[in-house]
C-alpha cells in the first residue's frame, strides 16, 4: 500500500457497521499499517442510519471525523440507497475518481440515469452480492452480514490480509475487551448464544467471508 485509503461504511442500526469498522481497523494495524476508525450514528436504534469511517495508510494519518471523500463505499443494506438512509445524498456523494462501491443486495441496485452517468464519469466500479443471504446460509445468522461485507471488501481489494482480519475477529469475539456500547454488548450476547463455542463462531464467520468471492457481481453502468 502506497497511499491512504478512505472507506465509508453506510448501513442500518443493528447491522454491525461500527463493529465491522473496528475489526477492519484492527486488522490494518495488525498488518503494520496505520488506521483510524470513527463511528457515527444518532440515537442508537435498529434500522436507523449508521455509518463508520476507516482510514488505512502506510504513514501517519492526521485528520479525523467523517470521510467526505471516500475511495471505497460499502453499503450494508439496500435501503441505504432506495430509502436514502445515509448521511449523504446520493449514497456515493464525494466518491473519488476510480472509487469502488460494494453493495449488499440480492439484485443490482436501482440507479437513475443521472446516477449512472455520474458514476461512469468517475470511472467508478460498483460490485454487489447478497451479504445477508450468505450470512444466513453459511453463518446461520443474519448478524454475520457485516462479516460477509468484510469478506466482500477483501475479495475486491487487498487492503488488509486474511491473517490480519482473522486475528482481528478473534480479538473482537474471542475475549477482546472492547464493546462499542451497551446495545452492542446485548447483540454480542445474542450472537454468542447462537454458537456453542467462540471457536465455532470464529470458524463460521471465516466461512462466511470465504464464501463471498464467487457471489460478487459487477454492475455495468
Amino acid at each position: 500500500m502506497t497511499k491512504k485509503t478512505s472507506i465509508r461504511m453506510s448501513g442500518l442500526g443493528g447491522q454491525g457497521v461500527v463493529t465491522a469498522a473496528h475489526i477492519l481497523g484492527s486488522a490494518a494495524t495488525r498488518d503494520g499499517l496505520v488506521s483510524t476508525v470513527t463511528p457515527f450514528f444518532g440515537a442508537e436504534k435498529r434500522l436507523a442510519p449508521a455509518e463508520s469511517y476507516v482510514r488505512v495508510s502506510p504513514s501517519r494519518i492526521y485528520e479525523r471525523g467523517e470521510i467526505l471523500f471516500p475511495n471505497v463505499i460499502m453499503i450494508f443494506h439496500p435501503h441505504v440507497i432506495s430509502l436514502g438512509k445515509c448521511y449523504t445524498m446520493p449514497f456515493f456523494a464525494g466518491l473519488q475518481p476510480s472509487g469502488l462501491m460494494l453493495v449488499n443486495g440480492d439484485s443490482a441496485p436501482e440507479l437513475s440515469q443521472d446516477e449512472r452517468e455520474a458514476l461512469k464519469r468517475l470511472d467508478a466500479k460498483l460490485y454487489y452480492f447478497p451479504a445477508t443471504k450468505l450470512a444466513l446460509e453459511v453463518g446461520g445468522t443474519d448478524l454475520a452480514t457485516n462479516i460477509a461485507m468484510l469478506g466482500g471488501l477483501l475479495a475486491i481489494t487487498h487492503i488488509v490480509s486474511w491473517q490480519g482480519i482473522t486475528d482481528a475477529l478473534a480479538e473482537r469475539f474471542g475475549g477482546g475487551k472492547f464493546v462499542a456500547s451497551a446495545t452492542t454488548a446485548a447483540l454480542d450476547d445474542a450472537l454468542k448464544s447462537k454458537y456453542e463455542k467462540v471457536s465455532q463462531l470464529l470458524e463460521q464467520n471465516m466461512a462466511v467471508m470465504q464464501a463471498v468471492g464467487p457471489t460478487i457481481k459487477e454492475f455495468t453502468f
Binding site: V37, T38, P39, Y62, R64, G65, L68
Partner: protein, 384 residues
C-alpha cells in the same frame, strides 16, 4: 489479582514522561479509562446517560476489577456534580464525566466547584447542546466552561485524552492550584474512534491525593464543613461579605495564573507550534488541530508554508505564548467546531494590539459535522 493495591506508586513526572510506554489501538473512551486505571482514583461518580460515551461504563469495570475504591451512580447530572463536590471536600481523589446537554444541566454545580476550591477531574466529550437536537460532536459547551472558573484542557486525540486526564489530577491537587480540571475532547471523533495510544505500564499509579497539603482544608472531624457555610456571603451580614466574595473570586483568578507552570509542565506547554516561521497561521484546539495538520501537509504539497498553533489549554489561556508566536504573522485563521466561534473571540482579544495580522472570522462547522481539510485550505488562501 490486578488491582490498585498491587500497583506501584510513582511520581506524576515518572508516569507521564519517564516510564516506558507500549502502544495500543484503542478508542478515546478506552484511553480515558486507562488513564483512570493508573490515577489512584478513590471514587468515580457516574450519570452515564446518552449522549455520552462508554467511558463511565468502562470506569465501572475498573471498580469491579478493584482499581477504584468506590463508584457512585447519581440520579442525574445535578446529582452527579453535587456528589463529586461532597466527595472532593472529604479529601479523596474523584472524577466524573459528562457531555453536551448533560453538562449543561449540571452547569450550576460545575460553576460552584472552583469557588469551593475542589480538586477533581471532569472529563467532557463534546456534543451538540442546542436545538434541533443532535448527539454529534460540536464543542459549543466549552464556551460555557470558559467562564466557569474550571481549568480547561482541550485534547486533540486519544493520546491527549490519556495524557491530559492523568496530568489533570496532578495539576488539580497542587497547593497553588486547588481547582477542578476539566479535560475535554470532541465526542465521536475521539471518544468513539480508534487510534494508537502509547501508555505506561498498568502496574504503575499516581501517588494518592495529599489533601492536607492543599489550599483549603478538607472536611474531617476537626474541620467541620463551615468554611463557607458560617457567615456565607449570601447572608450579606455586613460589608465584609462583599469584600470576601470579591477577594475569593480574585483568588480563583490568581490560582489560574499560578496553575500555568503546572499545566505547562504536565502537558508539555500550553501550546504546540508547528512551522513557527510561517506568516500564514492556523490557531486551533481539539479535533480542528488534526484537520489543520492534514491541511498543512496538503499546503506543503502545493509549495506553501503554513504554521499551526495548537492551543492545548483554554484555561489558563496561553496569552503570552500566542502573542509571541503570532508577532510576525500576516494572516491567521481559526478553524472551529462550533457556530459562535469562541476560540476566534479569545484569539482576537489576546492579539489585539500585539499583532498586525488579519484574523479571519472562521472557518467553522457546527451541528456535528467534521471539518474538511479543503475548507481550511480555502480559508487559508482566500485572500490570494
Amino acid at each position: 489479582m490486578a488491582n490498585t493495591v498491587n500497583q506501584r506508586v510513582v511520581t506524576p513526572e515518572h508516569l507521564l514522561f519517564e516510564a516506558p510506554r507500549t502502544k495500543a489501538f484503542i478508542t478515546g473512551s478506552e484511553a480515558a479509562s486507562e488513564a483512570v486505571r493508573r490515577a489512584n482514583v478513590d471514587i468515580a461518580i457516574a450519570y452515564p446517560i446518552t449522549p455520552q460515551s462508554e467511558t463511565m461504563e468502562r470506569i465501572g469495570n475498573l471498580f469491579a476489577e478493584g482499581y477504584i475504591r468506590d463508584y457512585y451512580r447519581a440520579e442525574d447530572e445535578v446529582g452527579a456534580f453535587s456528589a463529586i463536590s461532597g466527595a472532593s471536600r472529604t479529601g479523596v481523589r474523584c472524577m466524573t464525566a459528562s457531555s453536551g446537554p448533560g453538562l449543561m444541566r449540571g452547569l450550576e454545580t460545575i460553576a460552584s466547584w472552583p469557588g469551593h476550591r475542589l480538586p477533581l477531574v471532569f472529563l467532557i466529550m463534546c456534543r451538540v447542546i442546542n436545538a434541533p437536537l443532535s448527539i454529534q460532536p460540536d464543542n459549543l459547551e466549552l464556551d460555557y466552561m470558559l467562564t466557569s472558573g474550571n481549568i480547561l484542557l482541550h485534547g486533540e486525540n486519544q493520546q491527549d485524552f490519556f495524557d491530559y486526564t492523568l496530568a489533570g489530577f496532578a495539576i488539580s491537587e497542587k497547593c497553588e492550584v486547588t481547582l477542578p480540571v476539566a479535560v475535554a475532547v470532541d465526542g465521536f471523533f475521539v471518544t468513539h474512534a480508534r487510534a494508537w495510544v502509547e501508555m505506561p505500564s498498568a502496574e504503575l499509579k499516581l501517588p494518592p491525593r495529599d489533601c492536607y497539603s492543599e489550599a483549603v482544608p478538607m472536611i474531617d472531624n476537626e474541620n467541620p464543613p463551615v468554611r463557607i457555610a458560617r457567615d456565607a456571603p449570601i447572608q450579606k451580614s455586613n460589608f465584609i461579605s462583599y469584600q470576601m466574595h470579591a477577594a475569593w473570586q480574585q483568588e480563583i483568578h490568581a490560582a489560574h495564573e499560578r496553575s500555568r507552570k503546572w499545566v505547562s509542565r504536565y502537558i508539555n506547554g500550553l501550546v504546540e507550534v508547528v512551522n513557527p516561521e510561517a506568516e500564514t497561521l492556523i490557531v486551533a484546539s481539539g479535533s480542528a488541530v488534526s484537520q489543520s495538520r492534514e491541511a498543512l501537509r496538503q499546503a506543503e504539497e502545493m509549495g506553501k508554508k503554513v504554521g499551526l498553533i495548537k492551543v492545548k489549554s483554554l484555561r489558563p489561556f496561553p496569552t503570552a505564548e500566542l502573542r509571541a508566536a503570532c508577532r510576525h504573522a500576516k494572516r491567521i485563521i481559526v478553524p472551529e467546531f462550533n457556530c459562535p466561534g469562541w476560540l476566534n473571540r479569545e484569539v482576537r482579544a489576546t492579539l489585539y494590539g500585539h499583532s498586525e495580522a488579519k484574523i479571519a472570522d472562521g472557518p467553522r462547522v457546527y451541528g456535528g459535522i467534521t471539518m474538511p481539510t479543503e475548507l481550511i485550505l480555502e480559508w487559508l488562501f482566500k485572500s490570494e
